[in-house]
Amino acid sequence: MPIDMELEAVLRPVQIPMVPYPPKVITLANGKKMVVRQAVREDVPVILKSVHPCLFIERDYYDIVSARLYGELLAWYRHRVKSEYCLIGQVDGYLVGVVNGRLETEKVGVSYHTLAIDRGLRIGSHLFAAKMEYHIEYLGQEEVLIVAESPIGFRRWMIEYPLEKTNIPHELGGVESYRLTRDIYFAAKPRLVVGDRPVPKALLDEAEGEIKFADDNTIRERIAGLKGR
């Protein structure tokens, strides 16, 4: 697609500089090692291949979460969103989860979505926690605005942390907004935020070398199969 860079300069938002998220490794309940690391813009087309089959899964509101995430990642890829980032979880190189968000200002962050592509291992919880860790500990933000679009998300974020309500509207819609403050984050950190750094070289090399992704049927079976948990 031809791009007019003069026009692009007008269309592209000004970015807030962001320090990178340092990768970490988490041991899952089944003993597998999940590498959590920051994706780069060039990773988006591959990530979207894993998000795509989730668009058609109604269970647990995967459809709406995936549709919105797809659009948000595409917007990032096409330079149409301000200061977005994306963290991914990989097991044996395979993509098992995606989270994203962005910076509204240097002090206020916006949480977008959390998508677990494998289930029953608290991958969503781990990745959401990594996202909050990024905002608070690495980007030095004061608060993160959050909404939930699924009952699971509501339970995991609003209740488990617990988050506090705010009257600041979240850009994802008119539903009641919540926020994670630094105090809430550090109070929740001992029970919700884990991971080891640095990631052993072999694991990191495997993760960074290639983002592998399961075929559509496998993804659908993992998320919405009979054994879906």
């Binding site: 988490i26 041991t27 899952l28 309940a29 089944n30 003993g31 597998k32 269970r59 029953g120 291992l121 608290r122 919880s125 781990h126 926690a129 009952p151 001992p190 029970r191 919700l192 935020v193 884990v194 991971g195 009979l226 054994k227 879906g228 948990r229």
Partner: protein, 397 residues
């Protein structure tokens, strides 16, 4: 003179989250598998007993036995629902057994089923808590996991059970569940991931102290069924009938607080003793057992109350592999409630089905107890206030 009763057909559907199926679908699928397994085809049965705890609450549907016989075209078979909390399945099998033993019916279908995943986990926990005392327990917020947590703490203090012991049950049952195509949670767990590493705080959080997430069974949809008939008839119908050699049922106080010793599961002791005495066997004669491990502590406690181990030895037995396949007494080789799942009304029947699989020597080598001839089940209702136990025996061809 009561007739001896045998199982000539079994059926089970994979447990899990079955969004696309109604409760009636689950019951019908398991029933049809059992009818097929018994070679009954479209021949009718005399009576149907349905074990179910929550259709009236969860599905807002009652009289499900009447609905099922019509769905299965088994009219005009007699049909009853048996509700006895999480022991509904065991009680349904017992009612079917008595009906055949009495000589009144010759062929009986017993099916247990529950569909619990159409409500949230919180509501499912609340639904199960309806079995607690309505005046002195439920209003104060007690749940079954809460009771199990307190029971575990007491058991730890009195008998020295440790988290290591509970962990051994978790790992064993998940390992076996991963091999069972009917299991809800077909996933092995890893000691480091849920216990040793600092990451376990998220992977395996406290659910009801000292119990953690993976000490609890999942909330499941599922159904299981058996076909019963007199032993003499069974011998002519199938190659390997399984005799219900003994059964027992006992009750205990509704509330835990009224028991002299809340760690003493008297109803388990009494029900299993009755079943073993009727079968003229001792605990040491049993080759394989399915115990009601809704919480890991219950597998340990029941293994002691049945008499497989002395009090205080059940946890150590789990750690040293005595309850594994190939061990002294293999327990919950199906994965138990912990991994197979716990659709409450189905569980008591599913336990019987799993023992039948063992006694018919039908399982793959990695799940089959070699040369199993006898099996025992414990289906635990309430918090041990209504327990049903069976002893099954292989009938050699």
């Amino acid at each position: 003179m009561m007739r001896e009763v045998a199982i000539i057909g079994v059926g089970m559907i994979p447990f899990g989250r079955r969004d696309e199926d109604s409760l009636m679908d689950l019951l019908a699928y398991a029933s049809m598998k059992a009818l097929d397994d018994a070679g009954l085809g479209d021949k009718s049965v005399n009576a149907v007993y349905v074990g179910n705890m929550g259709a009236g609450i969860i599905q807002h549907q009652t009289s499900i036995a009447s609905s099922l016989v019509d769905r299965l075209s088994l009219l005009p078979a007699a049909a009853d629902v048996v509700e006895n909390g999480p022991a509904s399945g065991g009680s349904a099998v017992k009612n079917g057994l008595l009906a055949v033993a009495s000589g009144y019916y010759d062929t009986v279908l017993v099916v247990g089923g529950e569909k619990m995943r159409e409500i949230t986990g919180w509501r499912a926990t609340d639904f199960v808590a309806t079995m607690t005392h309505p005046e002195v327990e439920y209003p104060y917020g007690i749940t079954l996991p809460g009771m199990a947590g307190m029971f575990t703490r007491l058991y730890m203090e009195k008998y020295g059970v440790t988290r290591e012991h509970l962990l051994a049950v978790t790992l064993k049952n998940q390992e076996m569940g991963a091999l069972n195509p009917y299991a809800h949670v077909e996933m092995t767990l890893d000691r480091e991931g849920i216990f040793d590493s600092s990451h376990a705080v998220v992977n395996n959080p406290i659910a009801a102290d000292p119990l953690h997430l993976y000490d609890l069974c999942p909330v499941s949809d599922g159904a299981a069924a058996v076909i019963l008939c007199p032993l003499e008839m069974a011998k002519k119908k199938v190659k390997t009938p399984v005799l219900i050699a003994g059964f027992g049922q006992a009750t205990d106080t509704h509330t835990l607080q009224e028991r002299d010793d809340p760690t003493d599961l008297k109803a388990v002791t009494l029900a299993s003793k009755q079943a073993l005495e009727m079968a003229k066997l001792t605990p040491q004669d049993i080759d394989v057992a399915e115990l009601h491990d809704a919480f890991t502590i219950l597998e340990i406690a029941e293994s002691e109350h049945v008499g497989f181990f002395k009090k205080g030895e059940g946890g150590k037995a789990a750690v040293t592999g005595k309850t594994r396949l190939g061990g002294q007494i293999p327990i919950n080789i199906s994965g138990g409630l912990k991994a197979r799942g716990h659709p409450v009304g189905a569980t008591g029947v599913a336990q019987v089905v799993d023992i039948v699989f063992q006694l018919r020597h039908e399982l793959p080598e990695n799940r089959q107890v070699k040369n199993a001839k006898t099996g025992l089940t414990v289906n635990f209702g309430g918090f041990g206030n209504n327990v049903v136990s069976f002893v099954l025996k292989r009938v050699e061809p």
